[in-house]
């Protein structure tokens, strides 16, 4: 493992990414969709999805068996399928090099699992002739690390395998966790990101959640994964440095009215730590939650002149994957716009349960 091969990396970079989104599978669909400004949210078929929502951002035609094949997918749930497919796409780009070092290659996935799987399992227990007549193959799906563990099994990732959760800030927390693992010498290359599924039960629960006084927004789903490693490792392995991770900061707020102050402090801190000024931020992908929380985020970012990249309004509220989509959007934009090279880009999140977070990147 990496721990014995010398000093932890001084500089962490993103050297690859993959995405499954309401625009379809892959980076091209995602980047093209965002660039066109086309809304990827579509009307729901009420027969398939008996939910209290009219529309949602679903991965179009997502079918686990069609994407991953029949083998090992018989009992796989949707969020696991989405995660495994996205991890697969990222590894496809660099498979040979990373596979040779399976024990040092790991996965930090942000997800809260599948409430649908959990509730389906209990429903079987409550409605069967006996309370234990459940499908044992579906029991692992009811444990929240299932998408992470299954992705590792399908793609032979033997390094650290960690599941993290923190609402809208989940993906930022996942990158932070992965960064600490790399700096602590627990792995050499980590796939970090987040995954979310659309489901009937998630929709029912989200409908009654706190939306900051606004109406619930359409839900989205998907996953984005980023390959995080030391800059030297990336260069020596022939992988491109897409962006340098300059750092992230998190703070908590007790009530929504303080969310802006918390986020403002996070942004000031990441900028200070990078020795940068607000004017250096060329592009911002905010979380844009509805209602009061969104207004708080806007006010916290008031002092920054960088362009705003809209994501949620186009793909929906992607839950745990929200900030992963924002980061993917920044990387897509950086690929398309050479003016962003060596400028700073910022991803922000404010979660209704009281976390504000900011991630600062420098596209290469």
């Amino acid at each position: 493992m990496a721990a014995e091969t010398g000093a932890p990396p001084a500089e962490l970079v993103i050297s690859g990414w993959a995405v499954s989104s309401p625009y379809g599978l892959g980076r091209t669909a995602f980047a093209g969709g965002l660039a066109s400004g086309r809304r990827a949210i579509a009307p729901l078929d009420g027969a398939d999805w008996p939910v209290p929502y009219e529309e949602a951002g679903l991965i179009p035609g997502f079918d686990i068996k069609a994407v991953l094949g029949r083998k090992g997918t018989r009992s796989m749930d949707r969020v696991t399928g989405i995660a495994a497919a996205t991890v697969g796409m990222l590894l496809e780009q660099y498979g040979a090099g990373l596979a040779a070092d399976a024990e040092s290659t790991g996965l930090v996935l942000g997800t809260s699992g599948s409430v649908q799987s959990i509730m389906d399992f209990t429903r079987d227990a409550l409605t069967g002739d006996k309370p234990y007549l459940v499908d044992p193959a579906r029991f692992p799906n009811t444990v929240m690390n299932c998408p992470t563990g299954q992705s590792a099994i399908r793609h032979t990732l033997k390094g650290p395998n960690v599941t993290v959760s923190g609402g809208a800030a989940t993906a930022l927390l996942s990158l932070q966790y992965a960064s600490r693992l790399l700096r602590g010498g627990h792995g050499r290359a980590l796939l970090a990101g987040a995954a979310e599924e659309f489901s009937v039960q998630r929709a029912r629960l989200e409908r009654v959640a706190d939306h900051g006084g606004a109406a619930p927004q359409p839900l989205g789903e998907g996953a984005a994964l980023f390959l995080l490693e030391g800059a030297t490792d990336a260069r020596e392995s022939g992988r491109p440095v897409l962006a340098t991770v300059l750092g992230s900061r998190f703070r908590a707020f007790q009530d929504t009215a303080r969310a802006g102050t918390a986020l403002e402090a996070c942004v000031a801190d990441v900028l200070a730590a990078a020795g940068a000024a607000p004017d250096d931020v060329e592009l911002i992908a905010p979380g844009t939650p509805p209602g009061l929380l969104g207004k708080q985020e806007e006010s916290a970012l008031d002092g920054l002149t960088g362009n705003r990249l809209p994501v949620r309004s186009l793909v929906g509220d992607a839950g745990a994957a929200s900030a992963a989509f924002q980061l993917a959007a920044v990387l897509a934009e950086a690929e398309a716009d050479p003016r962003l090279v060596d400028r700073l880009t910022l991803v922000t999140a404010v979660d209704r349960d009281g976390t504000a977070g900011a991630l600062l990147l420098r596209p290469a």
Binding site: M1, A102, F121, Y132, G149, P160, N161, G185, T355
Partner: protein, 408 residues
């Protein structure tokens, strides 16, 4: 991220368990070899041939949760919040002191608030799909386990993360706190795990044939499986400088930890991968296998786990195995809290100089032959202890704690 890494120590413990709430009651329970096993009252068990668990029957959320409405938290989050307040007080800190420094709160879990999801599912089954209890629905997301602590303590300069890495989650959360403090990113951390008994998980293990009909007997020839349990364990950790500067009592030093993933099977453990995890933990902690004075095993008491785990230990330690115990024999399998509570037990063992027993033990299985300290705790001079956590998804995490010696 510049400069030398900081040493990290445990200065406060908060525990909610079926053998005692609060560090003194827990320590006394461990020493006495108390068992939390009893018939389940958390849900209707009609139709199951047997249904014991290590349930907590005397938990009063109102006694601990004052900064928010207890109804805004599910049972797992309530346990986590209570344990955190205990850990802060046990460390001799005021909440203002914790608020004044940069901190991390990381809480591991297997099921989050699945007990609430069971309840919501029950409402749908009896009353129709559109029936929903909105208060419960708002608190089911796992982020609440850590966010509830932050809200209760009114922390602001804090990173808040829930780590749902199943039954090794407590060790993941504690290891994360170790990295965050040792790198200098934060000064203090409240880390551990929490879970509440739920029908979903009992049913799943029952269906797999891994629930013991009576009690949990790790390493025993007649072991028949786990008993599910519940509770929370939270460790207050800080840098050694911080602890020394305020003259804090130090339970133990966190020496390091290791992670590995089997990447082979969703539920069956893998010997080689567990051995790799143990070796990684030793390397990270800067110790040799021979330094380990006892192992707090994952030790679920299932046929498969105990043989595989002891096989992995043997692979690393050779024929001379340190004493290897399972506190699950006393408090059941508390899922995401399991390795956090075991970490707390290890910290107490280091401070007080004893090894907790493996209770309910009759005859050691030759296939997993270890000195499991059967039935009665032993006094022992301890310097280094190892705590194993293994989980579904092949998620392994091993933590190494050492005695803090002022003379060292």
């Amino acid at each position: 991220m510049t400069g030398a890494r900081h040493r990290v120590v445990v200065t406060g413990l908060g525990v909610v368990t079926s053998i005692g709430t609060g560090v003194d009651a827990f320590a006394a329970g461990l020493r006495a070899g108390r068992s939390g096993a009893k018939p389940i009252t958390a849900f209707d068990t009609t139709g199951f041939a047997y249904s014991n668990a290590c349930e907590i029957t005397d938990f009063d959320p109102e006694a601990w949760i004052t900064g928010q409405s207890p109804d805004d938290l599910g049972r797992a989050a309530q346990f986590a919040v209570a344990a955190s307040r205990m850990a802060v007080a046990d460390a001799g800190l005021t909440e203002e002191q914790v608020r004044a420094v940069r901190s991390l709160v990381s809480v591991g879990t297997t099921d989050g608030e699945s007990r609430d999801l069971d309840h919501l599912t029950g409402l749908q089954v009896s009353g129709g799909d559109d029936v929903l209890d909105a208060v419960v629905a708002r608190r089911v997301w796992p982020g609440r386990l850590s966010a509830g602590i932050v809200r209760e303590l009114a922390l602001e300069d804090v990173e808040t993360v829930t780590v749902p890495t199943a039954c090794a989650a407590g060790n993941y959360a504690v290891g994360y706190g170790y990295d965050a403090i040792s790198s200098g990113d934060v000064e203090m951390a409240l880390c551990g795990g929490a879970d509440a008994l739920c029908r979903k998980t009992f049913t799943g293990f029952y269906r797999l044939g891994t629930i013991a009909p009576d009690v949990c007997r790790p390493f025993d020839a007649d072991r028949q499986g786990i008993l599910t349990g519940e509770g929370a364990g939270i460790l207050l950790m800080e840098s050694l400088e911080s602890a020394l500067a305020r003259g804090a009592r130090i339970y133990a030093e966190v020496l390091g930890y290791g992670l590995s993933c089997d990447a082979s099977h969703p539920v069956a453990p893998d010997r080689d991968s567990i051995a790799r995890c143990i070796t990684a933990a030793h390397r990270n902690a800067g110790i040799e296998a021979a330094d380990v004075d006892f192992i707090s095993a994952h030790g679920t008491g299932t046929r498969a786990n105990d043989v595989t785990e002891v096989g992995a230990i043997r692979q690393v330690f050779g024929e001379e195995l340190p004493r290897t115990v399972s506190i699950k024999s006393m408090i059941g399998h508390t899922m995401g809290a399991a390795s956090a509570l075991a970490s707390a037990a290890c910290a107490l063992a280091l401070r007080d100089g004893f090894i907790p027993p493996t209770v309910n033990h009759r005859t050691t299985d030759p296939e997993c032959a270890v000195d499991c300290v059967p039935n009665e705790a032993v006094e022992a001079e301890l310097k280094v202890v190892q705590n194993n956590g293994l989980a579904f998804g092949g998620n392994n995490a091993v933590l190494v704690l050492g005695r803090w010696d002022t003379a060292a």
